[in-house]
Symmetry: C2
Subunit: 440 residues, 2 copies
């Protein structure tokens, strides 16, 4: 293994350019460690003229990613193009078909075609590596696949989208509305002009689908994920969570349950004392619950050119060292079909915020509906605004007031049924807010 | 690589026995992943008759670890004997000399002989793996060596000893004294009958020496570590830290400074909002500061049979997959001699608690001594006890009262000089408490 490991990079945005510079900067160290040189030999990008902090002249330029992927002059193809189909898929397929290892940061591609691509890689005797696709610079793929290989995982969950965590953190710290924080995130470059993909939870879902496969040895099943975004979270939810000892995070959760594997992405209340609750701003974090280690949490940068490039370079080095195993931990043939747990079977605590008309009997009726659905309440909080109390000391004004219920463990089905009944009773002025609680 | 990977285990305490059971339990999964079976074929332990949850009859028994290490029937020798010399060293040396891979959890052995053993492994073309030697089930070795390979590390620090963190956590949570908490830790099996090794910081130092080598590509230099334990920490320090926004943790810190590599183990005040401050009880945590990822923190179980066995099994699997590189990241010949930074050159903030006689001029004199040593103070806190205030409203009783100073960044040399002067002035009743602050 003494010849150079030749790398072709498709996509020279912040990640690609950073990876090229990093490999040059760490050349001596990496060569010593790997016993061979890792050398970027060829690149392709949309714009050949942009200044990227290194000299393109020493590299072979390709106009077409597929041509680069098929080139006989590389051992490893790095896909940083993006998109779940189109050029990214074509180029990765071409690279694997022509016997090159592939490194990609493309979670959308993996969520959709990961298993097919892994099978192709196996057939061709090459590797497909994707540490950078989930949680940027945090080595969660390596940890699940290699470090916890002796464990049986029961749950993996995390903050996998920095944009959402930034927005929720700012809403809490400054009491701002969702819309104000989103605007700031866009201004600072943390959110796209069209933020749907991030704030709708879809980016988190793509990443979660990859973690689920690695954690449970199952085929990727992104369509099974229950997805709820953060746009309905209001300052009052953030305040109530705080008062009750919780913080709201957008979590991706994959969990082995009695009825199958639950995969869900939704705003979640986590105890303020938990490790995941401490993670603020654009930082990501993943917690893995497993039989031997109990709980391991990894915290770090979920995005950014250098952090993501760090993961890309780690993958390249593993491949150069000949050390990558099957993409999803076991060969594709050994991946199990995931048994999907229906979301209505989800069991856990719930935060339910109702905007109830302030009149006699409303609270009693709400609590009765919960009891009818066999839901036990841990707490009930009703804060009448000072305004309302002054206007109407009798508590019979009929003005809408927030009523918050925290339940003990119950099922999604029971909660939905009870909430529907409460709506039907006509006591609430707005659509209720329901937030799941992840207690430990 | 289709023949079985045969493992011999020396030491069947909680870790060894757990590793045997784990490999059996995960057999199918691991075989699928590695493309070969990992099979424990031979063992040795002090007691052959103890019940360990598996049948010894199917395994070859050795009375002597060295004989097991030399046996031709194993590919990998797992050392779980302990001790920095003696049978552990003999057996590991024998295994490497006869061409077996070695997996060890023995930080004392590595701190003393790690580089020599790594050189022997290289010479024989085998690997020396030791994920379990630092922070139990947390994959910090793999993260430093593989996942952050493209990074230049500037600092690595962590809570590496669960006993100390348990004691400090309980002192804070319950206002108990160090001695009370130590006794409880012993009763619960978290501390040894002779706790010196843990509470004196020596266990943390061994682990730190390994992290330093991996982080900076230098030879292990355990003797260079400045070590201070936690036995001098009193409830008043814990309370004052809390009041000032800090928490006290026993940290191992390795840092690249202008004058060389600083390695130190001491009680440290960390901001309550930091990730490391959230780590309570026997849990361990390591933070790595590096150029590309900025900051990555790993949190998890630092000890325990199953958690440590998880790391042992991960190492075994990496070796079975053929994927381990040089023990300390680069070949021994490429490890640099560490340039030691003198502790007196350490620069940082300090907490200084003086027990000063309550009389006119004492505080002024102390503050003057600090100013003379060019030390700027961030805060000065003097709480007279209610008792003292009642007895003597004039503030001239001469009774000892605590005075706490928090400094801006200064040097260890300056602090020591200033504190010596204060002692010389005769204003303090007891030896001052000095605790370093790690601000970010």
């Amino acid at each position: 293994m003494s010849h150079d490991f030749r790398v072709g990079i498709a996509g020279l945005g912040t990640v690609g350019a950073s990876a090229v510079r990093m490999l040059a900067r760490q050349d001596e160290q990496l060569t010593a460690r790997l016993g061979r040189r890792v050398r970027v030999t060829a690149v392709t990008a949309r714009d050949r003229t942009r200044e990227r902090g290194f000299d393109l002249a020493t590299l072979t330029w390709f106009d077409d990613p597929v041509a680069l992927a098929r080139s006989g002059d590389i051992d490893c193809f790095v896909e940083l193009i993006g998109g779940e189909d189109g050029p990214a898929l074509e180029a990765v397929t071409a690279a694997l078909e022509t016997g090159k290892h592939v490194v990609t940061a493309n979670k959308a591609l993996l969520a959709r075609h990961g298993v097919t691509l892994a099978a192709l890689a196996e057939k061709k005797g090459v590797s497909l590596a994707f540490e950078a696709s989930v949680a940027g610079g945090i080595p969660v793929i390596k940890t699940l696949r290699e470090a916890l290989g002796g464990n049986s995982v029961s749950r993996v969950y995390g903050i996998l989208n920095g944009t959402c965590n930034y927005i929720l953190s700012r809403m809490e710290a400054e009491g701002l509305s969702f819309d104000e924080c989103l605007k700031d995130a866009q201004r600072l470059g943390y959110a796209e002009a069209d933020p749907t993909f991030d704030i709708g939870g879809f980016d988190t879902a793509h990443k979660l689908s990859i973690l689920t496969s690695l954690a449970f040895g199952t085929e990727i099943d992104a369509e099974a994920i229950y997805v709820e975004g953060i746009s309905s979270i209001s300052p009052i939810d953030i305040r109530m969570a705080d008062e009750l000892g919780y913080r709201i995070k957008l979590l991706g959760v994959a969990e082995r349950t009695k009825t199958g594997i639950e995969q869900r992405v939704h705003p979640t209340m986590v105890p303020k004392s938990s490790a995941i609750a401490q993670v603020m701003g654009v930082t990501n974090a993943v917690t893995i619950d497993a039989d031997a280690v109990r709980e391991v949490t990894l915290v770090g940068p979920g995005a950014g050119g250098d952090a993501t490039a760090s993961a890309v370079v780690a993958d390249i080095c593993d491949l150069a060292a000949g050390g990558a195993g099957p993409a999803f931990g076991v060969p594709v043939g050994a991946l199990r079909k995931p048994e999907r747990a229906a979301m209505r079977m989800h069991t856990g605590g719930y935060y339910v915020r109702l905007t109830a008309y302030d009149r006699p009997g409303a609270a009693a009726s709400i609590v009765t509906r919960m009891a009818e659905a066999d839901i036990s309440l841990e707490s009930i909080v009703q804060h009448r605004s000072e305004d309302a109390a002054q206007r109407d000391p009798s508590g019979r004004s009929g003005a809408p007031v927030p009523v918050v219920l925290i339940t003990y463990a119950t099922t999604e089905a029971a909660i939905r049924k009870a909430v529907d009944k409460v709506i039907g009773d006509g006591h609430v002025a707005e659509a209720p807010q329901v937030i799941r609680i992840e207690r430990e």
